[in-house]
Amino acid sequence: MNKIVEKQRFSENVTKLVVEAPLIAKARRAGHFVIVRCGEKGERIPLTIADSDPAAGTITLVIQAVGDSTRKICALEPGDCLTDVVGPLGQATRIENYGTVLCCGGGVGVAPLLPIIKAMKAAGNRVVSVLAGRTKDLIILEDEVRASSDDVIIMTDDGSYGNKGLVTAGVEEVIKREKVDKVVTIGPAIMMKFVSLLTKKYEVPTEASLNAIMVDGTGMCGACRVSVGGKTRFVCVEGPEFDAHQIDFDELLMRLKM
């Protein structure tokens, strides 16, 4: 049982929970995820870790309510408990001094992107962040992203905040004006597909963090399999990040409809 110590509502469907998980808080690195379960009959839901406080023994999760299980998790209040939290799972992001790193997040994907932005900045990179959402209310964690970025571009579909347009417009603007050495993208699969197509055109190495369907999250079930460079890989143990230019996004999009 893992107690919720803090809750913040980012928008109608997006909730931040700070959860007691001392061992995970200590062991996790940028890019790792956890599997959580809510209730004795609960589903195992993979969630990327947005932040952690090893001293307080807590991790931060940002959850988008899309189905019954995520709605149940979002309805928890401080003092309530998650039935299970296991992790940190997956491979951590490869953090190096690449030069200039463009971090591009869409919607709730900005939450798992934040620790990568922080780590890339700490490694000495110039970090340019592009945040995107349908509308102003769906741009999350802007202050936290700004604190670790050299420049931030905000894109909204409806133009209610920042620049009007899709995330790719913001990414292209940056690639055209300065030399970008690495792109990291996290967001809806369809967004990552188009970011990947764009950065492939400009030949900028790109990592995408995938949100596949999982059951155990430890390599046991294979529900999360994805084709990368024509080979089947398991997102849970070999990912969640892969070379975006090698990912079969159409297959991923198809499998997410499962």
């Binding site: 589903e43 296991v86 390599g219 046991m220 079930c221 198809m254």
Partner: protein
């Protein structure tokens, strides 16, 4: 005892179905261990949540690895990533561990016609589970003949008795999907038995041109498992074989790292609970001898 999942019992809980090994029996055994003083920690993945070094810091003088062969194999044929094609681990875990279709929040796909690929005990468990989940037609596809099936005779008999169709000497070569990416048919290649292979069993050889297309709603791939790499990979210097198993002294179950023992599928690659239990006992005896200096 550190367990990665949210329930203690491993493959006895997530893999072997209730009708073959009731969970109440597994829980009774676990309760017995608890009474003897064993402490169980769920949701802890050694190598991820805590390291092998952390265990030493916590004062552990000996470590037994029984992390099993949990990594499902696929056949690497076209269409295998279509929706509706899944590993037997996924199918059985959803139903057995997560209670899908029995009050759990976890969903599982249903279908009238279910094909199960493989000829081992897990394949038999999958066919019989599919029947209990309401499938109207369950076809077992196996590339050799019945005589070569690695499943126990009893399990083969039970599956037949319950109405599973056996399609032996056939091998899937492709899955075909509908416009939504859901599997709708499998193409199977007829096989015949040729010369004996390295395992001593006669190896299946394709019969040229004998390919058939069979409509299916779900395909369950039960062609074997490999050892899960999470634990072995996290321990520096541990001797691991080319098949990804932990190498141990067969008498003592001790690995090349003095205080680390291992047994069961992580050593054997995919065997039975009975052999795993034997390994555990032998390892425990030798660990006790080593620690108590007897």
């Amino acid at each position: 005892m550190f367990e990665a999942l949210h329930e203690i019992g491993g493959v006895l809980k997530y893999g072997i179905p209730e009708f073959r090994l009731p969970n109440s029996i597994v829980d009774y055994e676990i309760e017995g261990l608890r009474k003897m003083g064993v402490k169980f920690e769920k949701d802890v993945l050694v190598g991820k949540t805590i390291t092998y070094d952390d265990l030493h810091e916590q004062g552990f003088k000996g470590v037994f690895v029984g992390s099993g062969a949990g990594f499902p194999r696929f056949m690497d044929i076209p269409g295998e990533n279509l929706i509706g094609v899944m590993s037997s681990n996924e199918y059985l875990t959803r139903i057995n561990l997560m209670s899908a279709g029995r009050g759990g929040d976890t969903p599982v796909m249903h279908g009238d016609t279910i094909a199960v690929i493989g000829g081992g005990n897990t394949a038999m468990d999958s066919t019989r589970t599919a029947l209990r989940m309401g499938a109207k037609r369950v076809i077992l596809v196996y590339r050799r003949s019945e005589g070569e099936m690695p499943a126990r005779r009893e399990e083969v008999g039970h599956a037949k008795e319950e109405g599973v169709e056996f399609m032996t000497l056939h091998n899937p070569i492709e899955y075909i999907g509908d416009e939504k990416g859901h599997v709708k048919a499998m193409r199977v290649q007829r096989m015949e038995l040729g010369e004996p292979d390295a395992s001593g069993r006669r190896s299946p050889v394709p019969v040229e041109g004998a390919i058939e297309e069979i409509p299916v709603d779900i395909v369950i791939v039960a062609v074997g498992v490999s050892p899960n790499q999470l634990v072995p990979r996290s321990i520096e210097g541990l001797d691991v074989s080319r098949r990804n198993t932990i190498v141990v002294n067969e008498e003592t179950m001790q690995s090349n790292i003095g205080d680390l023992y291992a047994g069961g599928d992580i050593v054997r690659g995919g065997a039975t609970v009975i052999l795993a239990m034997g390994d555990g006992r032998r390892a425990a005896q030798n660990m006790a001898r080593q620690l108590l200096g007897e």
